[in-house]
Amino acid sequence: MASIRLSVPSKAASGDVIELKALIQYPMESGYRRGSRGEAIARDIITKFECTYDGEVIFKASFGPGVAANPFLSFHTVATKTGTITFKWTHQHGEVWSDSAEIIVT
């Protein structure tokens, strides 16, 4: 259900610092809202994010209910070699979504 959008440069020179952007569509229900009948709406959020570059973890994040819906992240890494950059989100109940992008490093 969660749709993912990534921004990874397709090419980079070795040693370049590149910006990676990732967005996942998710409501991030904070657990503090009430429905139309006043009933509490249970918390339903993504709590962990991890980015790996050729299998090596390069960035991790953990989210609380204070992160906006459709969590967006932008961070940096050093382009080292041609490979796959994988982005992985983990829900509070353990469900996992992931997507990846290829980068060519010259």
Binding site: R33, I58, G64, P65, G66, V67, A69, S74, H76
Partner: protein, 157 residues
């Protein structure tokens, strides 16, 4: 014993008036309006331990006025060379006014190249957002940014 029933020393006019004034001033003291400030400190201690926090090296870029507290862009930049010997290990965002003070934290490393992270957060009102960065040598640095929130998250629901 039945000698002088007229004056009780504890209830002089001046004493009673003074007591009344004292009670009024206690009642006028504001309620702990920033109870969440303590929550923020507790959240910081939970994450980083009770270590001294230096001010500086952490720069925050936020809109001065956020019309919608549901999604406020926050950009964090930490002054660090990001080499294998000196880099930013962790960055955490804290709010003194949200129901949960700890908004998010990020783990970086020497491979990050640049200690710059952006995300979007929810804010439960106008406040001074607090960001703490932990360096590879274990020192903690902090930066703040004041945001006026027109439509707060968590209130109108």
């Amino acid at each position: 014993m039945i000698g002088k029933p007229d004056k009780h020393p504890d209830f002089s006019r001046r004493g009673v008036l003074g007591l009344g004034a004292g009670l009024v001033s206690v009642a006028l003291l504001p309620l702990p309006a920033f109870a969440a400030e303590d929550d923020m400190r507790a959240a910081q201690v939970k994450l980083f331990g009770d270590r001294p926090i230096n001010v500086g090296r952490v720069n925050l870029k936020v809109p001065p006025i956020a019309e919608n507290g549901y999604s406020v862009p926050v950009s964090i930049n930490v002054d660090s060379p990001m080499t294998s010997g000196d880099y930013v290990k962790r960055i955490a965002i804290f709010s003194p006014r949200n129901p949960v003070s700890h908004i998010a934290d990020f783990e970086l490393g020497p491979r990050s190249g640049k200690a710059e992270v952006s995300t979007r957060v929810r804010l439960g009102g106008s406040q001074i957002l607090n960001v703490i960065a932990e360096m590879s040598d274990g020192s903690l640095w902090s930066g703040t940014a004041e945001i006026t929130v027109t439509l707060a998250a968590c209130i109108i629901m």
